[in-house]
């Protein structure tokens, strides 16, 4: 990358305050939603493991929208219908997670 391109890149970053925006219509794809929301429960044991289980997309979309038991619902103001459909499809097709790496830091007893 040339020096000039680098400079343009840096300017772009400063000029795009919505780079990290996370409401309906602003997500950068299903993986972005997974990382910023779903993974906190569904990749940590707080919620059920989803990746690699092939739960049908329609069921994932329905439960994500409405919530069930301790899982809250996610309104269209946060995830649009189209984004939700893409997310559900991505989760359905996702491979099982890699086996957990040894924790980097000491965990709670």
């Amino acid at each position: 990358m040339s020096r000039r391109n680098l400079a343009c890149g840096a300017l772009l970053l400063l000029a795009s305050p919505l780079a990290a925006a996370q409401s309906a219509g602003q997500w950068q794809g299903p993986e972005h939603i997974w990382r910023a929301i779903c993974s906190y429960c569904h990749a940590t044991g707080v919620g059920v493991q989803l990746l690699g289980t092939r739960v049908p997309a329609a069921i994932i979309a329905e439960i994500t929208r409405k919530g069930v038991n301790q899982m809250p619902g996610f309104a269209p103001s946060q995830i649009s219908d189209a984004e939700l459909a893409a997310l559900a499809e991505w989760i359905t097709r996702a491979s099982p997670p890699e086996p957990a790496k040894p924790p980097a830091q000491e965990s709670k007893p």
């Binding site: 970053l13 996370q22 910023a36 919530g67 301790q70 619902g73 269209p76 103001s77 000491e106």
Partner: protein
């Protein structure tokens, strides 16, 4: 004419239809939801009431202050009440649901601009729909060495919402309202107010100096329905050069008073940098077990059963998680100070614990608590105690005995300041069982009554209990709040019933 499943109180269907048309003109059709099917994402009260008791009549999601002003005009014209939520993640306090049935949820999630971050002064100015996750990602992307202070639902919740609820977190900036500076507020009568120094054209120090000139107003917009906050200034903590998290554990159940009296001076003089959390073994145990795996008997889980399982994880009856922050030399010195003091009180101390919330790491691990029973029932009973060991111990004894009487498991997760203790007690119950819902509600009410009699206040409460809690804090205070409400929101359209403040005196 269209039929509606739920209507705002006192608003006929024809008038509601005109209001909805006004909302659609203001924000666009797709941002107004009306059918119960569409509103389902918002309807999870978690508290021991039927969801239907707080069913909203609609939701409307503006994307800007201008759209919000247009919505508010419609509300005033048609006398339709709205319940503002930033992200609606007030879990265990009512989530997004209004204090009374039929209000329109004013969902501000789409207003999510990070308007300014000043890395030099360590300040930010954000809109309601910005989540902690979004702001955290922003700081990382821009390589800004400032920390955030998260409440338990961190990634999902908003700095705006949690600050306005006077929530708390686990770093030295844990008092969220104490670390907010300047607000923009849309009042019920349409006035757009900027507090502090925000009213000066070209203001230079809106997020730097809180108090402005004359009466300091920001507090009246917290746990409040006097206006809709559209921008909030935040103070952010400079990333500390070093930090070290500890777990102190006391082996006896009577240790609480001793623990509090030992921690108080260390908090009071700033040696311990954050509130920390003083938890009982039962609460820590929920990270590892579900209730059904450890107890199947009747009533609340007995202490002996908790102790037996906790012991297998090396957990003692009372545990305090806290951190030291600062330069390495200071941490070294303070490690000696806290070790000496805590060990003298009978605690076993482990250094180098990892507790994400204490070190700027987003997590939802605290909500593994909800897996204890698993049906989404949660109510926080959160009395305030002076930071005096005997008082905290008394509150715990009282609460435990009332919960025992009602068959509710006793969990304790108190946060400690030098002067006060927010003695937070999450009540987890079986929401799929009607009897359990009713029993939990009776228990909560019994707790309120008894704690009120004993002279204790409540830090924060959820919908369904707000009238009771407001009464407990005195009729004069409530009366003054109602007078302010009438002055700023004459038609009473913003969040009627929030904190027990109803627009009309003598509510039925």
């Amino acid at each position: 004419m269209e039929r509606y499943a739920v209507l705002p109180p006192g608003v006929p269907a024809s008038r509601f239809a005109r209001a909805l048309a006004g909302f659609r003109a203001a924000v666009g059709d797709e941002h107004v939801l009306v059918s119960p099917e569409e509103l389902a994402p918002y309807v999870h009260v978690m508290l021991p009431f039927d969801d239907d008791a707080f069913a909203p009549s609609a939701s409307v999601s503006p994307a800007s202050v201008e759209e919000l002003q247009a919505v508010l005009k419609v509300c005033n014209r048609h006398r339709v009440p709205v319940w503002p939520v930033s992200t609606g993640r007030n879990f265990g306090y009512g989530s997004a649901l209004p204090a009374t049935r039929g209000q329109v949820i004013l969902d501000l999630k789409r207003m999510n601009r990070i308007l300014e971050v000043d890395p030099v002064l360590g300040t930010a100015l954000v809109e309601p729909g910005v989540t902690y996750q979004q702001l955290h990602d922003y700081l990382r992307e821009h390589d800004i060495a400032l920390w955030l202070d998260f409440p338990a639902p961190g990634p999902l919740a908003s700095p705006m919402g949690n600050t306005l609820e006077r929530g708390g977190g686990q770093t030295p900036y844990g008092d969220h309202f104490g670390n907010c500076c300047g607000m923009e507020v849309l009042l019920g009568d349409g006035t757009l107010l900027r507090t502090g120094l925000g009213g000066i054209p070209g203001t230079k120090s809106w997020q730097a100096y809180k108090y402005g000139f004359g009466p300091y107003l920001d507090g009246i917009f917290t746990q409040s329905n006097f206006g809709i906050v559209t921008k909030i200034g935040l103070w952010l903590m400079p990333a500390p050069p070093a930090h070290l998290t500890f777990l102190a554990m006391w082996p006896d159940d009577d240790a609480v008073a001793r623990a509090v009296d030992t921690i108080r001076p260390l908090r009071y003089d700033g040696t311990i940098g954050n509130f920390g959390v003083l938890v009982n073994d039962a609460l820590l145990m929920t990270s590892f077990h579900r209730r059904a795996d450890v107890y199947q008997g009747p009533g609340a889980i007995p202490e002996a059963a908790v102790r037996k399982v906790a012991a297998t994880h090396g957990i003692l009856p009372w545990c305090y998680l806290f951190s030291l922050y600062g330069r390495p030399e200071l941490i070294q010195l303070n490690t000696r100070v806290v070790t000496e003091a805590l060990e003298a009180s009978g605690a076993k101390l482990i250094a180098g614990i990892h507790d994400p919330m204490q070190v700027n790491e987003l997590t939802l691990q605290a909500f593994s608590l909800l897996n204890w029973i698993g049906s989404g029932g949660l109510a926080w009973f959160s009395p305030v105690a002076p930071c005096i060991g005997a008082e905290v111990a008394k509150q715990n004894r009282l609460a435990r005995s009332i919960m025992d009487d009602h068959g509710i498991d006793y969990f304790s997760g108190a946060t400690l300041n030098g002067r006060e203790v927010l003695n937070v007690m999450p009540m987890v119950y079986d929401r799929s069982d009607r009897e359990s819902v009713q029993r939990t509600r009776r228990c909560f009410e019994a707790l309120l009554t008894r704690f009120g009699t004993e002279g204790y206040g409540i830090y924060r409460t959820g919908i369904g209990f707000m009238d009771r809690v407001a009464e407990l804090h005195g009729a004069t205070l409530l009366g003054v709040n109602r007078r302010i409400k009438r002055a700023l929101d004459p038609n009473g359209i913003i969040a009627p019933g929030k904190s027990g403040i109803h627009p009309l005196a003598g509510r039925s």
